[in-house]
Point group: C2
Chain length 339, copies 2
């Protein structure tokens, strides 16, 4: 695939990248213990419980696309980014499996979460298997050590972000111990931004990028990740469950300290909000109040800031022809749903 | 430390290696998110829940010792093996954290298991944090790519072995679907042998060993691991809980298909055994019958075979002066409890 032949509309671009990566991803998953391979295949939407083939919609495949486009940004063929794409998709799936256990989320992409379908213990182990497979995939490429360093740094961030996200749920809504929007930003960057940044940078490194270019792509991916998390937070409160596939008000019931919540709590007009947030039955009232005091608007404005920064990084860096445009297409697709 | 200065008695040798490794291990753990660092420190016996310092006995530190001795076997200073030692101790602790969740084991080293003390979700995440830290530790050494390849292969084996161990519990005691001793051996090698072999080989690689020497040390460690697992199985059934720190009959109640069970089931005189094994209250009767029909003897004989193979591999390979003796000292210590 050359840059110029790549389709430019986002869905086609994502499908194109997914098709490029799929054989290697399937080959990697096929090397797992059959039980682990089934849980992985279920997660990717390739099979049902029991192993019967199916084609339920999996993830959007944004991370694998960023890895392929990262390689192209460095002037290489998109195929050079395939091991990076496989590794980040495996890490993403590992983190979904384990996060659903930690968050008690019983549903993922309109199907039972892996821990619900297969049990908690097997889901923990399947996550571990995907994690190990991701590391193995990168360790055998020619730039293995550098690639594994990038991935393990992203993994450390991922864990750090998830730890903060879990700890935030136990912190109060008001007073000196409340979660600040700065803490939220650091959490979102670690939990969501690090792996998107890693996907871009890792693909670029496998495509021959120098430290500078890999660094810029990493930062662009991180800002994109924060913006995506903000949009996801907005959808988690005000989105249509039929579209998002997540139960309405789920984040509120889990006491997630998302940006819209934090921004709304900062408003003097939101004095009744802490009480509403502690009453699961009043989630809709809470959502209305948060919208009225500007929580939704503030979150979307913050998302726009990070999208703009990512855009600037991608347009002001000399990337291979067509690659910046395609990266921007993915960016618009990922955060454009509400912006 | 030179080979000749090393103490030769096993406890002193293990303490010596642990002291050599501890500063780097503590430094690595100190880089984790504070919450994750506390769970890691609790696992290592450095602190109580809440973080108050303590010095409860941690593990024996066999894996870190093998890594240090592996480096010395390659003719290097033991210190060259420290990153390998840190990585294998982190991986071992990660696997204990996750295995205790999967097996429902509430106690570890006479204290509540991490998932009991901190909750299942946090324990899953702490395991992930240790896993990522192990990879990160190796990725930055000069032989990073080769080291990470060895570690990720051991991790894949670890997961495969644990998957089989879990699946074996659901398989019948008799008939064509019963677990065979050959399947057991492959499971024990993957679950226990792979990381011991990796510890030796990884230390050797960091000490400058060639593929041949690393391969021999890996194989010796794998046989040692199988022997250790066999002895552990025997202790799990007939050991004194006051010494083993594990509840009496725990493995039997969990329907673990350990070698003594499989060997006893092969005896025509054990016709009553399947029924006893399905009755948790009759674990003592089952243990007595298994001993009478030779299950215990067969397991220990099998352990001796693997110990002998490991011994032959270590003595017939030209290793640096003193290193083979020290490796044999650790071997005798690890499996000698019952042999």
């Amino acid at each position: 695939m050359t840059a110029l032949q790549a389709p430019s509309a986002a869905p086609e671009l994502l499908v194109h990248c997914a098709e490029l990566v799929r054989p290697s991803l399937r080959e990697a998953v096929g090397r797992l213990h059959p039980w682990m391979a089934e849980m992985a295949a279920y997660s990717f939407g390739w099979c049902e419980v029991g192993g019967a083939p199916t084609a339920t919609p999996g993830g959007k495949g944004v991370r694998q696309a960023l890895a392929v486009l990262g390689a192209r940004a460095a002037g290489a063929d998109g195929r050079a980014g395939i091991p990076a794409a496989v590794a980040v998709e495996l890490v993403h799936t590992f983190s979904l499996l384990h996060d659903d256990i930690m968050d008690g989320d019983a549903t993922r992409r309109r199907r039972p979460a892996v821990w619900k379908a297969y049990g908690t213990g097997p889901a923990v182990l399947a996550g571990d298997a995907l994690f190990a497979l991701a590391v193995e995939t990168l360790a055998v490429v020619p730039q293995g050590a550098r690639a594994v360093r990038l991935l393990s740094a992203a993994l450390a961030d991922l864990v750090r972000g998830q730890a903060d996200d879990l700890l935030f749920t136990g912190r109060p809504c008001t007073g000196p111990d409340r979660v600040t929007v700065e803490e939220y930003r650091a959490m979102a960057e670690a939990k969501t931004g690090a792996l998107l940044g890693c996907a871009c940078a890792l693909g670029a490194v496998l495509g021959g990028a120098d430290e500078d270019m890999a660094g810029v792509l990493d930062r662009a991916g991180r800002h994109l990740g924060i913006a995506f998390q903000l949009v996801d937070d907005v959808l988690g409160i005000w989105g249509d469950p039929a579209v998002t596939g997540k139960p309405a008000g789920g984040d509120l019931r889990e006491h997630k300290k998302t940006y819209p919540v934090l921004a709304a709590l900062d408003s003097p007009a939101a004095r009744a909000l802490p009480e509403l947030l502690h009453s699961p039955a009043r989630a809709q009232e809470a959502a209305k109040l948060m919208e009225a005091v500007g929580g939704r608007t503030a979150a979307l404005a913050e998302a726009r800031t990070h999208t703009a920064t990512a855009r600037t990084l991608l347009t002001q860096t000399p990337l291979a022809a067509g690659a910046a445009e395609d990266l921007l297409t993915v960016l618009d697709f990922l955060v454009g749903r509400e912006l």
